[in-house]
Symmetry: C2
Subunit: 522 residues, 2 copies
Amino acid sequence: MKNNKILELTENALGRKVPTIANGQKQIPYMGVGKYKPTGFKHAPRIYSCADYPADGNKLVKDLKEALIRCGIKDGMTISTHHHFRNGDLLAVQIFDIAHELGIKDLVWFPSASFPCQEVMTKYLEDGTINRIEGSMNGALGKFCSEGKMQGIGVLRSHGGRYQAVQDGEVKIDIAVIAAPTADAFGNATGDRGPAACGLLGFALADSQYADRVIVVTDNLVPFPCIPWQIHGNYVDFTVVTDKIGIPEKIVSGTTEITKSPDRLLLAEMTAQFCIEAGIVKDGFSFQAGAGGTALSIGIYFSEYLRQNKIKARYVRGGSNKYLVQMLEEGLTDYILDGQTFDLDGVRSMRENINHINTSPFTSYNYHGKGNFSSMTDVVILGATEVDLNFNANVVSHSDGYVLHGIGGWQNCLFSKCTILPVPLFRDRIPVIVDQVTSLCGPGELIDVIVTERGIAINPKRLDLIDALKHSSLPIKTIEQLKDEAEKICGKPEKPEFGEEIVALIKWVDGTVIDAARRVLK
Amino acid sequence: MKNNKILELTENALGRKVPTIANGQKQIPYMGVGKYKPTGFKHAPRIYSCADYPADGNKLVKDLKEALIRCGIKDGMTISTHHHFRNGDLLAVQIFDIAHELGIKDLVWFPSASFPCQEVMTKYLEDGTINRIEGSMNGALGKFCSEGKMQGIGVLRSHGGRYQAVQDGEVKIDIAVIAAPTADAFGNATGDRGPAACGLLGFALADSQYADRVIVVTDNLVPFPCIPWQIHGNYVDFTVVTDKIGIPEKIVSGTTEITKSPDRLLLAEMTAQFCIEAGIVKDGFSFQAGAGGTALSIGIYFSEYLRQNKIKARYVRGGSNKYLVQMLEEGLTDYILDGQTFDLDGVRSMRENINHINTSPFTSYNYHGKGNFSSMTDVVILGATEVDLNFNANVVSHSDGYVLHGIGGWQNCLFSKCTILPVPLFRDRIPVIVDQVTSLCGPGELIDVIVTERGIAINPKRLDLIDALKHSSLPIKTIEQLKDEAEKICGKPEKPEFGEEIVALIKWVDGTVIDAARRVLK
């Protein structure tokens, strides 16, 4: 237990106690969906001059260490990385190895997400090289944070919230390090080709645009111009060539097989059936599903329906994978709007198919833009760890109180025209529907349907959906009924014990604080 | 003659007298290539919120007038347009018709260039609807300005300088109106398809990113998503559908036939021969040529050389046209890096060929970025109206003093590794090589070679080129020799008479003032 202070708290619009100041920065409590109106101006990066960059476009320096030194790395800086290599990343740890070697302290690590391959960062969190992580903390890093061992307070943001925070200057990135599967010496970079191809580099877009200094690291240097340029070299200060930036077999996620679990298949089938009966699955519709087995299976059911009815989707949003690629290649959708590539079929399709479109957190998710894509999508199917009786949901912690998952695009997707959470009624005999979620990540007013194996609850606000399903053979119930059923089977589980110390903030898409995670008492 | 005041002047690094204040804004005199170092921050647009935009992405309003009113159009605002429709534009005049109808005064019109089809704007310049044009003034508008009839002082910028001025906040665009050959209701827009297809929309990029309010006007509305999205709807406030945004046959320029003039063909052949002898035309090289007949012909000579030697260019930069498209399709270049599309073959190729790449003033020309493409290009071939003995050149006015042309990408391209100006030794018996250029647009230190039909002058700074050509059969001469030859034939022409009043500033790529145009006395 280090510096996690007992902070002054205020109650936000969802009744959650959240700090007014954290990490020395003023925090705005969550005010409700669309209620907080920003009044300021976007972050204004310094004006640079071509006179300070090589005229021949060759920005190569010897190695990452030299690049970091020439970027002026020093105590207290914020250093960003992206997570497109997922658990195959080889670069993030190297950055902090170098920082440690240089004796630099109090860095803020600002990844778009962290993965188990980065667990060794705990040593740098312990020795003060890193003050805190602002970004999703998966697994061991989340546990470390939850136990109150991190000096600073963790900050969890959605993918869109991360773009918003950078755009709005809430997070000022001093040095962005962008691992690139292919790049040229000028810094133009792409993720869709090269030995460590990962598909998109969209999570590094904000970093490239707004960071003071930008380093591109690649293991596949090509002559200018690197085409496509997902990252513009015009934002890049230095390029570095290294032997290997990622482990290809770990870059693509292992979660892209459809589920074989009968329980999950049932959930998927019920969800698909619900969408069909609600009239959502029609010619020109659009959907987004997460990466899990249940979500993938729903895509299979949708495809079958489209095929039978000789209609097609206008677009499907990915996390792309072989099932979405099959839809595109079979003509069941006009476009894949891809935000992240989950398997090699996705990477290939993005590289080769002009209707497999790169998107970014800016186009899809940024709430502080003039609209974004998520609210236009007809239906999204997401997961949750807990849901309460008001349909508020949790996606970062389980009932044991540990913050172990990132928010990802989850909060952003809630803005779709219909948000469905297929969840098991209980996990390991712990009910998923609860009186109060441990961490409140998504307000119930944006969550329309909970699908469980024992029944489907429609948010009472969605009279249209209730009406559309009134003659359905699907088991439509109230959320209270579902909760009662679960508790009859499992009983009411004990709550975890928490300390008073805030260990992490959970930001809403507009930068306000929707909840705060407390230290888990052992 | 209206408000063109006699301003306080200072001498810049090229000895030109330029104002220290113009249009109420402090001006920085040109300091030399790469000498002015900006210290400020980029323009920071307001932070917007999705809460203020329709969730379904439908930003359509009834017509342009309603869109302008909802954007809050009022006296003194800066309104921007792009020139991708060239002389087929139907929109720019409409904007000011509406402003006039609404009784709005003192607008700044900020086009990326103006064309003869917009000559009627003189009435709005006369009646005070428009205070001034900041942007290239071609033909009648340039004459109007040169005669001192414009209330404010015109400001001429290169394409890159326009991006720089917007990025740096020197020009704050209140309302950008983007004519789009294809768009969706969200505001995603592309120029490469639709009845008024013009290819790129790159000149509107800065406007979309930095303007306070953005209107997209299209005559070809498609369901979301409009692919590709050259302009991101996430920057757009309103979309408008209208019957016709441009006259297709006038959109593509008429200057894309190779020259039949023996004089120009000679210039082209000499220029190509020079490049070959200088060792510039080799495997993997890159070049850019303007749109004129001479420049086009050079591409033909280059192609022939590449074909014969079984080598290819890495990239050619356009203004794309059928000749560059032929090179791409024949495999004589890996890529076209296109900044503007000059004919229908260019538009088709951009739409269909993944190696025909969209660029923008940001990637190619912005001097206040971390490098740009122009300095990486091996050779550019440009025009000029006048060149002086120090190789300083003029591109906006002729010897009669009238500012009749825009700068275009000309200044930006001077940064290439070798800049060649093929020019006739005289035009209408007026020598092109002069003691002092009427307007100084490009510093001689960036201009390497002047090719005329009677000899080629290499800038004495380019010892490497002088050395490479020392045994050439080409007529290598000094610039003084060329000037003497011309004057022997034509005599020394009389200089035009100028008033004291400054009518237009000529900006350098870094926002400093490289020259100022004076009122032409009748």
